[in-house]
Symmetry: C2
Subunit: 348 residues, 2 copies
DNA sequence: TTGAAAGCGCTAACAT
DNA sequence: ATGTTAGCGCTTTCAA
């Protein structure tokens, strides 16, 4: 591999001159420039970015930490981030934390040691415990957080995030608009989806409706199975819900199948709202009404914010950007029917 | 940020001694080691990995190039790779090519300039055009390829790959075992899934059965929609298939819905085999029989092979490892029924 | 406009 | 067992 010194020798100039034509900072005479360019071409010279990085204190590498990319939500976010960085000739170092606090810590440490230019961090279940360390890191290198739904929003970092509370409200509002009232249920992962729950609850409250505790089912995970089981629990209770808000699409799919297995027709007997708008939500039977969250927009905004901060160099004031979701109305929601019309014993 | 020199001064030794206690190569007296360790602790010293990399010619960063991670297949592969690298304290630089030749070229170039230690490359639609460049890179830094299904398997690289031909055979064999014969159809993306097609075809041929051209549908993409449309085409033809092999699960899902919309019951009227074993394949109605490909195993093997090569340093002989898939038998396949028993006009 | 020297923070090779 | 010297390949002063 030819080095800059090789090129310089070959062109009969010094390293500095080569550096100048490469970076275009200083002015170089046409003639010299040509000589240098020719030498570069001839030797197939390519700059060593590590050396440049050491010298400049910049690596052109950013990192993103996410719980996992097996979940399509995060993989889309990461994909978007990578694409934007590609345009800016920056590289993306991917770290998956798997909700493992120590793993995240190790990763952060290495990233810092590697002189990474900036960090994008999606919250995971245990990341709060790393806040002190993150703050420390943040003093030297820019960090932007996202997907932070847990209770006290950290005030130390800039963020681009989903307005989860608002998203939950949307789900509630949609159901109310359809005419659902006192038999509205929610299936949510606790404590992860606290804000969605609260938003949902507040929407109902604004119309004077209180979520019945019997219709409020907390689950430990957000899986098809937990959705299925939660729905079974709901269907075997005293009050059969007229509508269910599941705080992830996967849980909604579980609810949907549980409903079918219980002989309930969607949306006739039961309205169902999901959350995420995963790809397959459009292909369920019936297609799932769900809350579409602007993940790609979030990814873009956070990446650009980070890039801006890195470019400016000086520590920037904290900035928080909250993004609003929207309801994807499909066919899993409808007006509740009066009990006479909807008794499934008579209506097949 | 404290440097090694700071630590040395603080401990009253030289940089070299600090380096020695850090890397454990040379022997250091207990007493000195303690002093150094104390200084490190006190100053909160962390080694600058960029400097180390420049000096050693190693960066502890590997790259993976995949077409996209929006597709769960690749995101799982990447996730697995990242986890293994994490254990080895190496970082993963993620590059998505989006089947864009120039983008892939740019990315490779930067990776080389960044002195990356090794490259994992999943084939995309246009990557063949980059083979010459890849070969050039391969002379300096180890490359392992995977997911290479297109016709001439490149003989320049080591590889860990799916045996696509065998996988296709499995699908054919399964259908034959159930008793399907002359009304077997295939829906495949062309030219991407050439090997799956050939394997499928060869399995049938081994029993003297030829795939009817009318039942061989090529699609341009592997989407739900293209699966749906291909199935419609099939159902409107002269010969109604007794079984369909769709070369991706997503296409199979499209086929499944098309079948339902055409009034065909699965598996009674139509057997359906998918390919990939994506998560939701287990949750369709009926659950989808599909070919499960060992993606995580592939990811592990290729990553470890790459790590081994990097560790050994010397150029290694070419190695190709082909992995076998297996049939996930679920409920979308069954024996074909005789026309009398299965005429759906009589059997509801 | 170009050259010379110093330095980024580390490791490697040799000397002590 | 520890210190000294010399790089790794680039950028950043500062001279010429």
């Amino acid at each position: 591999m030819a080095t800059m010194a090789d090129v310089a020798r070959h062109a009969g100039v010094t390293k500095q001159t080569v550096s100048n034509v490469l970076n275009g900072k200083a002015v170089v005479r046409q003639e010299t420039r040509q000589k240098v360019l020719a030498a570069i071409e001839e030797l197939g010279y390519r700059p060593n970015l590590i050396a440049r990085g050491l010298s400049m204190g910049k690596t052109s590498s950013l990192a993103v930490l996410v719980p996992t990319i097996a979940n399509p939500f995060y993989s889309e976010v990461v994909e978007e981030v990578e694409s934007i960085l590609e345009e800016h000739q920056q590289n993306l170092i991917l770290c998956t934390t798997h909700d493992d606090r120590q793993r995240a810590h190790r990763q952060l440490q290495i990233l810092v040691d590697k002189q990474i230019d900036g960090i994008l961090l999606a919250a995971d279940r245990h990341i709060e415990q790393e806040i002190p360390y993150l703050v420390e890191i943040g003093m030297h290198i820019p960090i932007i957080i996202c997907c932070w739904e847990s209770k006290p929003y950290p005030d130390a970092f800039s963020a681009v995030d989903i307005d989860y509370h608002h998203a939950g409200q949307l789900a509630g509002q949609h159901l109310l608009d359809l005419g659902h009232r006192d038999r509205i249920a929610i299936v949510f992962e606790s404590p992860a989806h606290q804000s969605r729950l609260e938003g949902f609850r507040s929407a109902l409250l604004s119309r004077g409706i209180e979520l019945s505790p019997a219709l409020t089912i907390a689950t430990a995970e957000s899986t098809y199975r937990s959705g299925y089981q939660a729905a079974q629990q709901l269907f075997s209770g005293n009050i059969v819900p007229s509508a269910i808000f599941a705080t992830t699409d996967w849980m909604a799919l579980g609810v949907m199948d549980a409903a079918r297995d219980a002989g309930l027709r969607i949306p006739k007997d039961l309205s169902l709202v999901g959350f995420d708008d995963v790809e397959q939500a459009a292909y369920t039977h019936p297609p799932l009404t769900t809350i579409a969250i602007p993940k790609r927009e979030m990814a873009r905004e956070m990446t650009e914010m980070l890039l801006r901060r890195i470019a400016q160099g000086t520590p920037q004031p904290r900035l928080v950007m909250l993004l609003r979701s929207q309801v994807m109305v499909r066919n899993s929601t409808a007006a509740p029917c009066s009990s006479s019309k909807c008794n499934r014993a008579y209506d097949v």
